[in-house]
Symmetry: C2
Subunit: 220 residues, 2 copies
């Protein structure tokens, strides 16, 4: 039985540093300094820096996915196996947005870490990331049940756009605030969630697969 203290101190410090400054410029020495442990501790407890990152990512990935699926399952059971599309989308983008936006002090390092992981492309994470697809497929399935008349292609595009708006808004929240001179309130998380869900819902429910028929603007 180990003390585990050093181990979890490293995990916590690493997660916070990665969430704040990205994977690119966080060194092992930064991590052990923040954790207050010896340099060799990381290699002793995790084997290598990459394995530390991988463990962090796997742990958080499982937690996030469970959170999202819990919301989804609950909604589908309540609706007798079929949830409204808004609720599905809400379960998809809600947890992440809630963890990454809002007043500084209540943001979750876990959520911010996951966004970093989804943005920056670091080898140990890239290797694992394919499992994420299975997770998204479950959402695609629920969306198909909610919109049976919709083509599969449209479902995937809707899913893609929903994630796009959520992630991009998180990533560029600072720029959006500056661009709008504070008029867009990124601290009102539920409003942001509602906006993303609303637009994604429109994308998925608007008149049948007509994107191809839209007025094609003259290219150059």
């Amino acid at each position: 039985m180990a003390s585990d203290h050093t181990r979890s101190a490293i995990l916590a410090a690493a997660e916070r540093l990665y969430a704040d400054r990205g994977f690119g410029d966080v060194t092992l020495r930064d991590i052990v300094a923040a954790a207050g442990v010896n340099l060799a501790a990381v290699n002793y407890h995790f084997g290598s820096k990459d394995e530390l990152i991988a463990e962090l990512f796997v742990t958080r990935s499982i937690a996030t996915n469970r959170e999202r699926l819990r919301e989804l399952k609950a909604a589908e059971e309540q609706g007798g196996g079929r949830a409204p599309i808004e609720v599905i989308l809400h379960a998809l983008v809600g947890p992440t947005l809630r963890g990454c936006l809002g007043p500084e002090n209540q943001r979750s390092t876990a959520a911010r870490f996951m966004i970093r992981a989804s943005i920056e492309s670091v080898p140990p994470i890239r290797r694992i990331k394919n499992r994420e697809i299975d997770h998204l497929r479950k959402f695609a399935g629920a969306m198909r049940r909610a919109l049976p008349e919709r083509s599969e292609v449209d479902i995937y595009w809707g899913l893609n756009f929903a994630l796009a708006m959520a992630h991009h808004t998180i990533r560029e929240s600072e720029r959006l605030t500056k661009l709008s001179e504070g008029k867009c309130d990124l601290d009102d998380v539920e409003d942001v969630v509602a906006r993303v869900v609303s637009v994604a819902t429109m994308a998925l429910t608007a008149g049948k697969t007509e994107t191809k028929a839209l007025p094609r603007v003259a290219a150059r």
Copy 2:
């Protein structure tokens, strides 16, 4: 009068490498090897690695913005100072999408470099990036003229979502292809552009600022 040959060879090689592999793991030695020049050439011609990146970014940034503004200006002049919102959005996301998607061989390294720059956060670029805001403000202005009844907040959110869909689709194109098992055709660039423009247009023109009034899904 210098030969300039070495200089442009470095620029070309650097742009391609950064576009392909990101800023994180491209070393000066990689660049000079690809360019077929001596290691010291970068420091001789550009001063430092950061200044090389900065020059690359500034050059491409100016070119991209000019391209987008040209499409925008042309559309507004044709409409007597007011262009349809679809055309504005098309000018905003079209050039980038066209340069980053489509058949492998006709993708532009320049566009892919710019996407890298907008994704990964490397110091020399971050310092310059604020000018981008002025550029986006011009689009916000055009959008306001196209939709005078729309609130400013909605305009900024629509702009944000349009860029979100475009950038995210480029960034995660591989995953979307895999997720949809090839059903989403990322090579049909004009279809992708049409989809993004269509959804963004809906986001901007759908019933008045009602996001706040949408059914608020039970939070957890």
